[in-house]
Structure formats: C-alpha cells, structure tokens
C-alpha cells in the first residue's frame, strides 16, 4: 500500500487521532492515542506492520520539544510507514514493547540518550552509558561534566574539533 492508502485505512479505524503535515509522508500522533494506533498497525490484517525497524529520538534544539520517530515495515505486505510523536519535556510516551519486542532496546536507548520516558516499559534503564551517568547526552543543551569518577574530562578539544 502507498502512504495515502495506509492513511485512509487508518482513518476508517480511528479518525481524527493523527495529523499529517503538508508534503511529508509521516503521521503525527499525540501520545494519548499512540497505544490504540499501534495496536491497529500491528494487528490489522490489511496493514500488518510486523517489523519495527527503528526508533529515533530527536531534539529540535529549542529545549522544549522532543520527538520520537518510529519506522515500520511490513514483511508480508512490503509497505513502509513513519510515525512521529512530539512531546514537551517531561511528558511520557506509551511503550510499545508488548507489541514489538524490538522496541525494548530502542526505547531504552531513547531514554538513555534523549531522556524520554516510556510508560509501561518493563525495565527502562540506561543501555549504552554507565548506570550512574548524569544527564542525557544527545540533548542539545547537554553540559559535559567536569569530572567523571574523579577523572577530569578534557576541555581543550582543539585536537579533534
């Protein structure tokens, strides 16, 4: 199915629960509707998005809005969909781990790097960084600490920047 057909199909099942921006093949969804739409994507016999490819968190740079982009693919129907959820800092997003197990580590990474919280995740903890790391480094306003466990972090970066 093409993007327009997918959108029409989701509209039949749950209208007014998503929005589309002009010229972009992306569905924007508010976190409140995400659980319902995710279940439709997974279980609907026409859509069958069985493969969650990627969850990418992003920071738009204004320190208020953080976003997550979900890329889905259907291995049986061979179509593709991107979903985005944008939230203000501190607002949680429902976890989709119960539908796609692949989401487990991707959500942990989004929490680790961007500080997004996923409600319903079985074990939301850091994955790539150490457990006692402070802050979420991929945020644009992230300040590097001066010390980590007593080791000074070099401030002179003329060697590599």
């Amino acid at each position: 199915m093409t993007f327009d057909e997918i959108v029409k199909h989701i509209e039949l099942k749950s209208a007014d629960k998503f929005s589309i921006e002009e010229g972009k093949s992306v569905l924007f969804i508010s976190p409140d509707n995400w659980e319902e739409i995710a279940a439709i994507l997974k279980n609907d016999s026409e859509l069958e998005f069985d493969y969650l490819m990627c969850i990418s968190s992003y920071d738009k740079g204004d320190n208020t809005i953080y976003g997550v982009a979900y890329n889905f693919y259907s291995t049986s129907k061979q179509h593709y969909l991107e979903i985005r959820i944008e939230v203000e800092d501190g607002i949680s997003i429902p976890s989709i781990t119960s539908l796609w197990r692949a989401a487990d580590w991707h959500e942990r990474e989004a929490y680790d790097m961007m500080g997004l919280k996923f409600v319903g995740h079985p074990d939301l903890k850091r994955i790539l960084l150490a457990d006692d790391w402070e802050g979420h480094p991929l945020r644009k306003n992230y300040q590097e600490p001066d010390y980590y466990h007593g080791l000074p972090i070099p401030k002179d970066k003329s060697y590599w920047e």
Binding site: Y51, M53, S57, N71, A102, L129
Partner: protein, 379 residues
C-alpha cells in the same frame, strides 16, 4: 543420601549468576553477558553493552556530512564499505543526486567483496567458537586476498573511507577488475573446501544443528535481520525486496535456512546461509565485472553538502542485516541528528530468547551464529 540431596542445608540450590566478559574470546569484542543459570541450564541472559561506546551520534552533530564517513567506517569495522555505502545512500536520498553508472557498479563490486570478507570472518569465528580451529585460519587466508584488493583500491585494509556521498574517492586502479576475477576463480573452489572441512563435519553439526532455534515470527518481532533472519526461513533481503543502488540488474538468489541438519532457524542454518550468500556474492561480482561501463567517478560529487530541510530514513542490507540511517537536516552543512539503526544491536537482543533452556556452552554457539560486531552495537 537422597534425603541429604533434598536438604538445602547440605547442597545449596537456586539461581546462579555467571558473568561472561567484557574480556572473553567468545564475546567477539567487549560485550558482557550476565547469565542467570540453574545448574548448567541458562534461564536468562542480560547483555550489558556500551563498553565500546564512542559517541558516534553526538560526533555527527558536530561534523559536516563528508566528515562523518570515516566515523561510519569505525562502526562496523568488519564491513566498513557497507556502512559507508549505507550512509552515502541516505545522504544522496536527502540531496537527490543522480550517480554515474560506473560509480554504482564500483560500489556493488566493493560491497559484495566486503560481504564475502565479512562472512568469511563470521563463519570462521563461528567454527572457532564451537571448537574448530583450522577453518578460521583458512577463512582468514582468503579474506586477506580481499583486503589486498582493497589496499590497491584505496590504500587502507580495514577502514576505507572509500564510498563518499555522491561518488567514490578514487576510480578503480589498473587491473583491479582482472585481479578481482582472479580472486573469484581462486575463491570459488575454497567454498567447497570449507564445506568439506566445516559445514559437513560431524562434530560441528552436533554442536550447531537443532541448537538455538529461532522461529521466524519471533525473529521479525525482535527486529532480527540479515543472514540471521534468513536462517529462520524468511526470504527477506533488501537487495531483492527494496532494491537500492543497481541490484535489480543482477541475477542472484536469496538463500534461506531449510533445516537440512536439524530444524529451521538453528545455528547451523544461520551459519550455512552465510556460506551460500558468499556464492551469491561471487555471482553478483562476476556479472558486475562484465557489465561495468567507463566514466568519471567524481562527476556527481557535490562541492559542498548542504541538503534542504527534511528527514530521510535510508536502508541498506549490510553483512549483518538491515542498516538504517535516520538523518534530520535543518538546511545547514551539519546534520541536526543522525541516528543509526544497527542490525547487530537488534540481533543481539534476541540472544536471551533463543538461549533460554540451553546449556552455557550453547550460548557461545548462539552468540557466534548471530555474528555480532560490538563496534556497531555500541556505536
């Protein structure tokens, strides 16, 4: 005696936590596994990642697009060409560049050579994991020839920085095509040798067949891709399903696991899919060597990479699976965000699921058959 065994004060029973790694020859890098066991039977595995985290995504937010390529090299260091190619394809999608034919052919040739090199390491190291030492030295010997070819191509043996957004860094050196063909003639009989030595070896089959069975639906749900998914009998290869570059021009098959030695989706199937894929790669390279046109490889290289505002998700079939680059551009020469979907990261997440109920020694076989590269998992 029986009473004594049941009495917990005499023999302590219960869960034991076994630590494997980060420094362990079977973890293929600095990976730590926390293995919860009941006796010798594994009940749960917690992989602990991040020992090789080098802030790839944070670096990308400070560097120009063309400067990111050396960093993608270092993500999957066993298949650097694939990472460069994947990133270049994503950036080209964003820039909307039309590439010269010759560039596409060169890219396909080097990518398939790289696939053979990477799979040689994978099958050799898997043999090593389950106790077959000689095949590893044999596969390394053959891989060396590919690295020699790459050395004549761009001077580097491991981290190439060869495929750039919009083209490649150098044209093929003189006699490269001839040398590649020579290598293929040399390499094709070596696969039969490998099959005799390792694939059909009784001890090897005992160790890998029917071990760590990964059903197809579980694999897809966990986001497992690449040879590990195809080992479970799913015919899914981006080169066929969503052809990028010029793969639709070539005639090749997508090998899948058939459960010849045990059940579909066991370690042996995942191993054997890689062996068969090398034969398919040889086929592709032979066709590409025949058809490659003349032309200028630097024609489409952009002077300055400054894409329009927008996002792109580029997909690529690397030796380990489906690599994705999610790039957000804000119209500057530096990306706002680069997220890499690493295939080995998702493949590793299934380890606990397939190892549950097996012995500790089978965890080694399962891990080896998934063919992980820690550089790419930790980024």
């Amino acid at each position: 005696m029986e009473k004594q065994l049941q009495d917990k004060s005499v023999i302590e029973t219960g869960e034991m936590v076994l630590n494997m790694g980060p420094q362990h020859p079977s973890t293929h890098g600095v990976l730590r596994l926390k293995i919860h066991t009941d006796g010798e039977i594994v009940s749960k595995i917690e992989p602990i990642l991040g020992y090789l985290h080098r802030c790839f995504e944070k670096h990308c937010e400070k560097l120009g697009y063309e400067q990111i390529v050396p960093f993608t090299d270092r993500c999957d260091y066993l298949a650097s060409m694939h990472m460069d190619h994947a990133f270049s394809i994503a950036v080209e999608k964003l820039l909307d560049v039309k590439l010269p034919e010759r560039v596409e052919f060169i890219r396909v040739i080097v990518a398939e050579l790289q696939r053979i090199a990477s799979h040689l390491i994978a099958v050799g190291a898997f043999g090593l994991d389950v106790g077959a030492i000689t095949p590893f030295t044999w596969t390394l010997r053959d891989r060396e020839r590919i690295l020699d070819l790459f050395e004549t191509l761009c001077g580097a043996r491991l981290l190439y920085n060869y495929i750039w957004p919009g083209g490649v860094s150098h044209d093929l050196p003189p006699l490269f095509i001839e040398r590649t063909k020579e290598f293929l003639d040399y390499f094709t009989p070596k696969i039969d040798e490998l099959n005799q030595l390792l694939t059909t070896n009784k001890i090897f089959i005992e160790r890998s067949a029917d071990v760590g069975v990964l059903p197809a639906d579980v694999a897809i749900n966990f986001g497992v891709t690449g040879p590990s998914l195809r080992g479970s009998g799913v015919k899914f290869d981006l080169r066929k399903n969503e052809p990028y570059s010029i793969y639709e021009k070539f005639d090749f098959d997508v090998p899948i696991g058939k459960g010849e030695m045990g059940s579909v989706g066991d370690c042996w199937d995942r191993y054997y899919v890689r062996v068969l894929e090398m034969i398919e790669s040889v086929k592709i390279i032979r066709q590409a060597c025949e058809q490659i046109p003349e032309g200028d490889v630097h024609e489409a290289l952009p002077k300055k990479i400054r894409p329009e505002k927008g996002e792109v998700y580029g997909r690529y079939e690397s030796a380990r699976g489906d690599v994705g680059f999610y790039i957000i551009s804000n119209g500057k020469n530096i990306p706002l965000r680069v997220k890499m979907r690493s295939p080995a990261f998702c493949n590793l997440s299934v380890l606990s699921e397939i190892s549950e109920g097996w012995m500790i020694s089978d965890v080694i076989a399962n891990l080896g058959s998934l063919d992980i590269v820690l550089g790419e998992i930790d980024r």
